[in-house]
Amino acid sequence: MKALEQAKHRANGGRSQAAALYDDKNCSVDRRMFWDEEIYQEELDRIFHRCWLFVAHESQIQEPGQFVSTYMGEDNVLVVRQSDRSIRVLVNSCTHRGNRICHAELGTARNFVCNYHGWSFGLDGRLLGMHESEAFENTPNFEFKDFGLSTAARVSTYKGLVFATFDPSAPSLEEYLGDYTWYLDILLDNDDGGTEFLPGTIKSVFRCNWKLPSENSTGDALHAGWTHDSGVRAMLGTGVAPGFGTDSYQININGHGWQCNFDYPLGNAASFGDKRILSYLKERRDVVRRRLGALRVNMLAAVSSAGIFPNFSFLPGQSTFRVWHPRGVDEVEMHSWVLVNKNAPPEVKDAYRKGVMMTFSPSGVFEMDDGENFEFSTRTVRGAEGRRRPIYYGLSRGSKIKHNELPGNVYRGQINDANQRAYFRRWADFMSAETWSEVPDR
């Protein structure tokens, strides 16, 4: 930190100034949060080192020794199925010199051996041995037990999704998600057999701040009809009517958001232009209704989008899940997957695989129009004049309602910034809180 910033930091009793960058009263966001390197470094500590972060789907690591390599913030981690079938999350950095240990993005291992000096770690992260081990054994005070890999403090799953946190004082995953699980169940628990990720992870690079795509998924229904007009026309032969229907909502809980539309209950799935998927959904309507109720059956594939704070997004109906991993203040590495019901027929699974590829993948007719918006919303806010202008997130203020069935904070109207306001409010909660006990329930 620069001297001036340090002085301000001390004057504020050691508290971060960053939280002030979201102005809840005026519903505005200071552009600094999208370009300031110091804010980004604070985010790594205060958000990515504290929050529960999505790391894998259980289907990716079914057998002992199977692992996937992913990121928690900028920490590369290995998500490893243990011999007792539990899951551990190891930091992929040798405790000797810090080198990366495992260079594969997935596979099956008996142990992980560092290329540099041959330090070898078990699936549980314990140091097992190394090249010239005798010399270490004869070194005074050298204890193998002191050199196990760093691990996530806690790992927990929710119906197939694996999450981890580096913060031992974090609340349980159930508390972190709160009533949001009622919504997650729509995708994760609409069938007896549960879900799986289809094989393969798409990874791509966006030169944007990580919060822009994250807040977009959590609530930006507004952009869909405009940004994606060409994609909708390519897949369906017609554009989106303005107004988007009337029976639509935004819902948020602890900064996690879901926005959906009951006028078009198959709207997202229809964007694939694939009859096999629509037939599958129609055939299963009664089963899903019995399982989830009359309301949620219409949310499974509706025109909708959703996100779990801070950077895990998904599209119900299109069935793509994605994480926006930060790579510095102005770059994101996106990892994305296709979620299907395990018991779905093979041709339906393949239709989802192809449908996501045609719509929300780097070659997809929808995603291609998103990237440039995120990139230029990051790049153009650095100028001395530009940075003085706050960003407006006030759309449809005052639309909060009471709803008898939808849990959480409910807002009438999908065309609304309510979920994005909740996202930035949550961001400010974490940036100002010194401990988890100061993070309020929202």
Binding site: H103, A104, E105, L106, G107, T108, L198, P199, G200, T201, I202, K203, S204, V205, F206, R207, T227, D229, S230, G231, R233, A234, M235, G239, G273, E333, W337, V338, R353, K354, V356, M357, M358, S361, P362, S363, V365, E367, M368, D369, G371, E372, E375
Partner: protein, 181 residues
């Protein structure tokens, strides 16, 4: 690299120099049409039963028997002619905001080897490409890759019937692939 199932057709020996020349001209023409964004003319070069496939490349250890790419995994392209036409429909839409102003494309094609196919009217062509894209003021993306094509002769013209595209990147170092390769 381990053996994987894919959309391969076996190559069966050499072809005459005249056929090599025709295939080179076909591939260069195709590259120029893509550079020019002349998708309607490009579509004429595709066979009705085309399988146009660009798998993702996984970063697996050499000893991993599963292999770095395969047909059941997610892909960048795994297209029929109808799928390709949908992508073209977006490129040609007036509301494809991210294509306007247009991206400047350069498709460099090289290392063309042509072998006889399993059927008398088919050849297997190997080539490598550099795809250079420049957008707006200073946005630049470069992809290198290797292709294997099945090209079929129909009424005096050549048509692309299969294409497998293997790029060298694991993480796609770009936000999209707004072209064909």
């Amino acid at each position: 690299m381990s053996v994987v199932k894919d959309n391969a057709t076996a190559a069966c020996g050499i072809v005459p120099a005249s056929v090599q020349g025709e295939i080179e001209r076909f591939l260069y023409l195709e590259a120029r049409l893509l550079d020019e964004g002349d998708y309607d003319s490009w579509l004429v070069l595709l066979a009705p039963d085309i399988h146009y496939w660009m798998p993702i490349i996984e970063n697996r250890m050499r000893g991993d028997p599963i292999g770095t790419y395969g047909p059941d995994r997610v892909a960048y392209f795994d297209d029929t002619l109808d799928d390709i036409k949908r992508r073209v429909a977006r490129f040609q839409s007036r509301t494809a905001w991210a294509e306007d102003p247009a991206t400047r494309h350069i498709h460099v094609i090289s290392n063309i080897e042509v072998e006889a196919g399993e059927k008398p009217d088919e050849v297997v062509a190997h080539s490598i490409f550099i795809n250079y894209r420049n957008r707006g003021e200073r946005d630049e993306d470069i992809l290198y890759g290797r292709r294997r094509d099945l090209i079929r002769r129909r009424s005096g013209s050549w048509l692309l019937a299969r294409r497998r595209i293997l790029i060298a990147q694991n993480v796609l170092l770009a936000k999209n692939i707004n072209t064909f390769l």
